[in-house]
Amino acid sequence: MITILDYKAGNQTSVKRALDFLGIPNRISADPSEILSADRLIFPGVGHAQAAMAVLAERNLDIALKKAFNAGIPILGICLGSQIILSRSEEGDTACLDLISGVARRFQPQHSAYKIPHMGWNAVRFSRKHPLFNGIPDGSEFYYVHSFYPMPSDPRNVYALSDYLIEFPAIIGHRNLIAVQFHAEKSGKIGLQFLANFASWNPEDDDAE
């Protein structure tokens, strides 16, 4: 059972539909106790970092997420969920969850050929191996809509890169947490494969490799 964190984040229903399509049992929850008892968690998100952090705090979900991460529950962050797991976001200069040290940075367009938000299909290049990349060819394209991107302090937390204006982290992670800037739930068959891989990921096995 995958628990999808509900914090008025916008795309939790799209994520749910994709899991339903794949036949993966799931529920949407905003209850901190259900977050802590989850088998695995998806932390979705669309919108403003500051507003998102405010809702998380109001519902005590920020503390629940930190506890879930420390307890080793597999967590997948999506889009805004890949940004507010960092220490801070430049969006509204917001203090974030700090599950991974780093900052969500704003794209700085140098010339008009690069439109912001970065919206559309772009290639993702893997920087390492990971069980979530199984069956996904390196360089596969995923669907993006964003104006900020995650930048961990430690390059070892960067699992994949994409290019737009600059080279930016497309997938970041640490232990039982992995987070993607793109929308896996809207990235066609390859995105569905990624979600299916998450459903069977055991972070404990990674250490044994």
Partner: protein, 257 residues
């Protein structure tokens, strides 16, 4: 770098798929959800559903279509046709669409773009414009005029001026549909697409007239479009999405394969 997108538009009337030729004489060509799934399987990048239902009492049918699409198709899609206010927009977004496609209603009341952009974010607001070539005048200096209500009513608004204004109001993307080229399969209006694309810094989707891969290639390069809307070429089975994308890739155009 971003790939150029291949988008298909499905015109839906009373829940069924239709394809217009110059906006008149629409022919029934099947089930929109089935067609959408076929294109998703083929690797289409994005879909647009346009509700051309004449009567408002059948509006609910479209929301059923949107929900069914959202449950089975995992690429972005937008919905347009008959969206007049924020609550209409909310209904289709809540049913599972990523974006709303605003056309006549935004021409009649441009503030709708601003309201929708503030409410849902610019990335969720697509301005769709129907454009007819018109004699150059003081009112229409570009020679491209906005028409509304399915292409039947000229507005006296210059298309370039409208595109710039729409960007200022918060549109996140513009679909440029040439009424002159629509359904002819004789090629996109390159001059029009290029003119709009050079006037705004938003992604521009070229629409109307695509009949061959060469047409698509030309509008994505010379026409400076970020995406091409392909309808007849796919709907009547002349091409598959893969055939179109493979050919474009051979010509050096970056597409998602």
């Amino acid at each position: 770098m971003l790939s150029k997108r291949i988008i298909s538009c499905l015109d839906v009337r009373d829940g069924k798929l239709a394809k217009s030729v110059k906006f008149v004489d629409t022919r029934d060509i099947g089930d929109p959800v089935e067609k959408a799934r076929e294109y998703f399987e083929q690797g289409l990048d994005e879909l647009v559903f346009y509700d051309i239902t004449a009567t408002s009492d059948k509006r609910g049918i479209m929301l059923d279509v949107v929900r069914a699409v959202a449950e089975q198709i995992f690429i972005p899609f937008s919905v347009g046709g008959g969206l007049r206010n924020i609550s209409d927009c909310y209904a289709v977004l809540h049913a599972g669409a990523e974006k709303v496609n605003l056309n006549s209603a935004a021409v009649v009341r441009p503030e709708l773009l601003l309201e929708a952009s503030n409410e849902f974010g610019a990335q969720a607001v697509v301005l769709s414009m129907d454009v007819l070539r018109s004699p150059i005048s003081a009112q229409i200096p570009s020679g491209f005029q906005i028409v509304i209500h399915g292409g039947r009513k000229p507005t006296g608004i210059d298309a370039l001026e409208w595109a710039i204004k729409a960007e200022q109001l918060g549109a996140g993307e513009i679909v440029v549909n040439s009424i002159d080229a629509d359904g002819t399969r004789e090629g996109y209006d390159i001059e029009l697409t290029r003119a709009i694309s050079s006037s705004v810094s938003l992604p521009v989707v070229a629409s109307g007239g695509g009949g061959s891969i060469a047409h698509i290639a030309r509008v994505l390069t010379e026409g400076m479009a970020d995406a091409a809307l392909v309808a007849s070429m796919l709907h009547f089975g002349s091409y598959t999405v893969q055939e179109i994308k493979n050919s474009l890739a051979k010509e050096g155009i970056k597409v998602r394969l």
